[in-house]
């Protein structure tokens, strides 16, 4: 079955930028885009063990008459056919549609419930967090402005998520025919530990064949060393799956990375199931 990517379209200039990023991602990986143009200010996503209510910012309902054409134009600009538009079939309440969740990827801005202008760097909204925690698919958090990427950078950090992010990065590298670079944070685990981990998971061949470079970044000035991540890379990383409270108390690596890097991020949640 062809892979599909869900995009919730906001018919605004900001929304166009994120849709362009989605279109580019789909074009590069040969994925079919599926666009939802919201007709209500909220929708539900029923995952395997969670139901997430996404409360949209009112700008998502702007100019519904032109939304479909604008979305199709964005894809046409990149030489792609019009995307598939989904119309909700099921409703939990009359103004509360259920959106399917059986996609391979989804695009989410940093925050789906706040106005773009209010979203500062290093902020990932609570709804996006919940989607990340519950979804089987990875979530693309696009850069603020559309920027094509030419390589894949996998942040190969916390062992719990490292393998998931690695698998996805390698898979995308093959699909998009782009070089894959690994970036490892040297803390209590060294490069040899990670090599051992990959060997244990039977991924040594992928490491040899698909990864072109492997950079080990010192732990003490990790954020400064993120400068070494190429500006034209799609950054793939795993989310630890901490809740909002724990992240507020102890900080979140994902948000630190998002603060420092302007690149598009592809985040793998704890429930991601690689194909």
């Amino acid at each position: 079955m062809e892979m599909q990517m869900l995009h919730v379209f906001r018919n605004t200039p900001h929304g166009r930028e994120t849709l362009l990023q989605t279109a580019y991602f789909c074009k590069s990986a040969g994925i079919s885009p599926v666009v939802y143009i919201p007709g209500h200010l909220k929708f539900l996503m029923y995952f395997d063990n969670d139901v997430v209510q996404v409360d949209l910012n009112p700008s998502y309902l702007r100019s519904p008459a032109t939304a479909r054409d604008h979305a199709a134009d964005v894809f046409a600009d990149l030489g792609l056919p019009p995307p598939k538009f989904i119309v909700p079939k099921h409703f939990t309440a009359s103004a509360l549609p259920d959106i399917p969740v059986d996609f391979d990827f989804m695009t989410c801005p940093h925050s789906i419930s706040d106005l773009s202008a209010r979203i500062g760097p290093g902020y990932v909204g609570p709804r996006v967090r919940r989607i990340l925690q519950s979804a089987r698919f990875p979530v693309l958090i696009p850069s603020a402005v559309y920027k094509p990427f030419n390589r894949i950078a996998v942040l190969f950090g916390d062992p719990a998520n490292a393998v998931r992010a690695f698998r996805l990065g390698v898979r995308l590298g093959r699909l998009m025919e782009m070089p894959v670079t690994l970036f490892t944070r040297e803390n209590r685990h060294g490069k040899t530990d990670y090599e051992g981990l990959l060997a244990k998971k039977g991924l040594s061949v992928d490491l040899e064949q698909s990864v072109t470079e492997w950079h080990v970044l010192p732990d003490h000035d990790f954020e400064d060393n993120l400068y070494r991540v190429p500006h034209d890379a799609l950054v793939v990383l795993g989310a630890a799956g901490h809740g909002l409270i724990r992240s507020l108390l102890f900080g979140s690596i994902m948000e630190k990375i998002q603060t420092v890097l302007p690149n598009s991020l592809l985040i793998v949640g704890q429930n991601y199931r690689s194909v």
């Binding site: 079955m1 029923y46 063990n49 139901v51 209510q53 056919p81 598939k84 079939k89 309440a93 059986d102």
Partner: protein, 573 residues
Amino acid sequence: MVWKIWRHPSDWLWFRFDDRLLLITFGAIVGIFSGLAAVALNRSLLAMAEMFAQVRISWWAFIVPGIGAALSSLFLERVVREGAGHGVPEVVYSVSRHGGLLRLRSAFSRLISSSLTIGSGGSAGPEAPVVMSGAAIGSNVARFFSLNERQRIAMVGCGTAGALSAIFNAPISGLVFTIEIIVGEWSAANIVPIAVASVAGAQVSRLLQGNQIAFTHLKFDVGMPAIFAAIGLAVITAAVSILLTRFLITSHRVAHRAPLPVWARAAVGGCMVGLVGYLFPQVLGEGYHTIQNMVEGAFPEGLWLMAMLVLAKMVATSFTLGWGGSGGIFAPCLVIGSFTGLMYHRFIVAIWPNLDWVGEGCFALLGMAGLISGILQAPMTGIFLIVEITGGYETILPLILVSAISTTVCHMFEPASYYFRELVEKGQYLRPRTDARVLADISIGELVERDCTTVTPSMRLGDIVAVIQKSHRNFFPVIDPASGRLLGMIHLDDIRPYLFDPLLYETVFLEQVMETDVETVEVDDELSEVLDRMDANRLFSMPVVSSNRFVGMISKATLLDKYRNELMLQTTH
């Protein structure tokens, strides 16, 4: 590590021994929390009633229900952002389609909104909000502890039962309502934990509020005349139930057409209730005090006034629930039922004054059972609820009679109950182990056969002979090689006449003989609809497309295999 083990009790040694122990343990926990939610709502309603007691005598008191309903609607729409509605259909929908997944906010949202609506005088009951709250507690406890779908549905049932048994101090009714309305499946695996939760909920209520029954227990000496008269009452309560259902639906439709924000609609509805309440104060609020008077035979109003009260309560309930207020239908049904029963009793006593009639309170009880059974089309709930809230079995024979007849008559005119009507219309009322449920649990994606040999329109007839020799199928999708679009279909039967004429092999192209008017299936189509289309067009297989691109084929043979597997999965647990 400890956190991970803690969050997965199914892996604990004790519970691995028997899954039912896990359900009973967590059922009791859910029942306690649901019971606490019900007690909280009860207390807040009492506090609100005291707060507004002085206000109700003012001339402007009619706006109080309007303000309450508007605040309730604003709270649901703007604060917790949860659409209006009384909640029970949402719980049933969640159980039917999504394995009982409910939002955490539902655990408290309806408690607050309904206390604003009912406490300010809206004509609604606290049962549906506590059902929603209890169900959400159960669902989220199950989610937190990573219970599977079947266990989660049982927890939703436990929450419902615990809440309902606490609000009425009626554990059997909590159990019966949950099984009849929410879970829809009388299986031991469900009944045991739900019964435990029901007991836990009732016990919490008794500890915190005392072991009180809702209405004073009175002894009724039910004779033959009353038994026969109950048949007539059943028909009348059925008629009133149908009328109330239609009032509610019409009111809902009219409200939706009103060009007003949701909160303003609720305010208008609330003010209308206030105006009705100005003339008939008995229709305001949940109305248990009025019922108590009727059961005790201390309700002096005459026959015509009783008829007016039945109508007034129906209007008030329609304005409350149809226009955006928050609350349930149980309590209004009890009030309207008791008005109807009392009215009927006075009517028959006026016609046959010399017969030895039982006290009019008995007919008030029978009327309540008739209305509950008629509206919910759940006779067992109607019977046990009345028995439990009145604390006596003396009226059990006419109760069964009235409930059974009322349910049957209502079903003739309204095939789906008030709770299920909308779900049935949308095809979302899926009960366990039914055909619709099994089909809903299978997706088109699971059935797609990808081992199809595709051909292109520019191929010659001679080319397909070679393809047929290697294939075990008798249909071949014709695909545009550039875009992957499905252009048509070659059926072996259609080209068979040409296959035996070698002269045509090099001169006929497949685009000349392919069928272009092909019925296709989208990957996200509903399986039940696809089957209907297959039956209507007498097809055994259909091509599946996504964005016009060919994905594979779906056939009835594969569906049957998958259907059997799914049915076995659903029936072995």
